[in-house]
Amino acid sequence: MTAELPGERPAAAPGGELAALLAMVARGDEAAFAGVYDRFATVVYGLVRRIVRDPAQSEEVMQEVLLEVWRTASRFDPGQGSARSWLVTLAHRRAVDRVRSAQASAAREVRAAVAATDYDVVVEEVETRLDAQRVRRCLESLTELQRESVTLAYYGGYTYREVAALLGVAVGTVKTRMRDGLIRLRDCMGPES
């Protein structure tokens, strides 16, 4: 543990703020961890809730995700992508793991699949932010098959083989639509704000 020099402050650049917080969390700074929670609890909880659906399970997964952030903050590598992306990826994986393990014991309902294509928020929605509007607009710019492939996978937690079965198209088609769709999203959205 190295003591922080007086006056030394993390860079306040957009996106860099979270990275700086994570670096402090890695050194055991509980206040910095609370800061990460306050900035990302709504994003993490909303995503988990969207994928897992069940409120009680969503809370469990939410706690797992945040604790994993606490435990593994030292493994965040700024060279591999943004801090926000690292955090959201972690949350998405945990949520997907939860629904896939649940799926192993019980066949999933088609109803959930249909609901998953509706990417409006179902639970208490936070005020719509500019970023969310931009993401929605960009989603609209995808072809229908690209959009359905991407949203079923991301919000529904389905594997690409399941997505292919749900959409009734070839597995290879789904793979390329997912990639093309994400490339189009990436180019439409521009850099993170």
């Binding site: 890695a26 509980e30 961890f33 609370a34 929670y37 609890a41 709504t42 994003v43 993490v44 909880y45 909303g46 995503l47 809730r49 969207r50 809370e59 939410m62 706690q63 606490w70 435990r71 593994t72 903050a73 030292s74 493994r75 591999q80 992508g81 992306s85 959201v88 990826t89 998405h92 997907v96 409006d120 928020v121 639970v123 208490e124 929605e125 936070v126 932010r129 993401v135 929605r136 989603l139 991407v150 996978a153 991301y154 919000y155 937690g157 389905y158 594997t159 690409y160 997505v163 290879g172 789904v174 793979k175 390329t176 997912m178 990639r179 093309d180 769709g181 994400l182 990436r186 993170e192």
Partner: protein, 252 residues
């Protein structure tokens, strides 16, 4: 399965966490050797992550206190050690060790190796292990320890060992793969040694399909090394041959 398909087409499904376990492992192995793929995967991962903007929702307020309190009593993982470490001290540095050539110890701290090795361990512990429940739960505790670190060490002349070490428990779980097969009058014996002491941790169980079941090595201390030697089948009081593998234990 990636068989005969172009792995690059999986980048989108990968970024969406939409690959099954087998496909994901294969794709990650491919990422390990394809720099442009890593860059694309990262940019698509960022794009996918932006989709979470549309689902933001306020969590129940009580969660905040629970999470912060839980974090306060949870130990954090150390940063990954990426450099290959080399044991520089000669074998003569350890009391009682016969002379032996220096051995290279590769430490793989992160990534796919970890997942693969841990997967192997878990399969071992679930399928192969027939030890009593106590030992089984001790092994599970170490494998699941929040502070567990994992290392892969190459053995001489071939084979490898995988070690999962829990700092808090001062213990590790050892498995080996593809060590040379020994005649029936010999065995592999595991040793833990500091500069002042040397103790046997017991004999490796006989291999099945080239792999040995997980073995617990308790009571390790900072600065200790773990070594494996070939000994008579009944075991030895002190090592009588050069080690086939040696690992410096980076215990806190």
């Amino acid at each position: 399965m990636l068989r005969r398909t172009d792995p690059h087409t999986l980048a989108g499904a990968y970024a969406l966490d939409s690959l099954g376990d087998v496909d994901r492992e294969k794709f990650e192995r491919h990422l390990g050797v394809c720099e442009s793929c890593r860059a694309e995967a990262a940019s698509l991962r960022d794009a996918a992550g932006r989709l979470a903007e549309t689902t933001a929702a306020v969590p129940p307020p009580r969660l905040r206190g629970q999470v912060l309190a839980e974090a306060a009593r949870t130990r954090q993982q150390p940063p990954p050690v990426r450099v290959a470490e080399r044991v520089r001290r000669s074998w003569h540095g350890f009391a009682g060790w016969p002379a032996a050539p220096r051995m290279a110890v590769a430490i793989a701290g992160v990534g796919i190796l970890v997942a693969l090795a841990l997967g192997t361990l878990l399969i071992n512990s679930q399928v192969r292990l027939r030890a009593d429940e106590t030992q089984r739960s001790q092994i599970a505790a170490i494998l699941n320890a929040p502070d567990a670190d994992i290392f892969t060490v190459h053995a001489h002349p071939h084979g490898s060992a995988t070690v999962v070490m829990s700092h808090a428990d001062h213990a590790l779980v050892l498995t080996t793969a593809r060590l040379p097969v020994l005649p029936s009058n010999e065995c592999y014996q595991v040793w833990v040694m500091g500069t002042q002491r040397m103790k046997s941790a017991g004999r490796l169980p006989p291999p099945k399909q080239g792999m040995t079941a997980p073995m617990i090595v308790p009571g390790i201390a900072p600065g200790d090394h773990m070594g494996v030697t070939v000994e008579p089948a009944a075991g030895a009081q002190h090592p009588t041959s050069p080690p086939v593998l040696l690992l410096a234990l980076p215990l806190h």
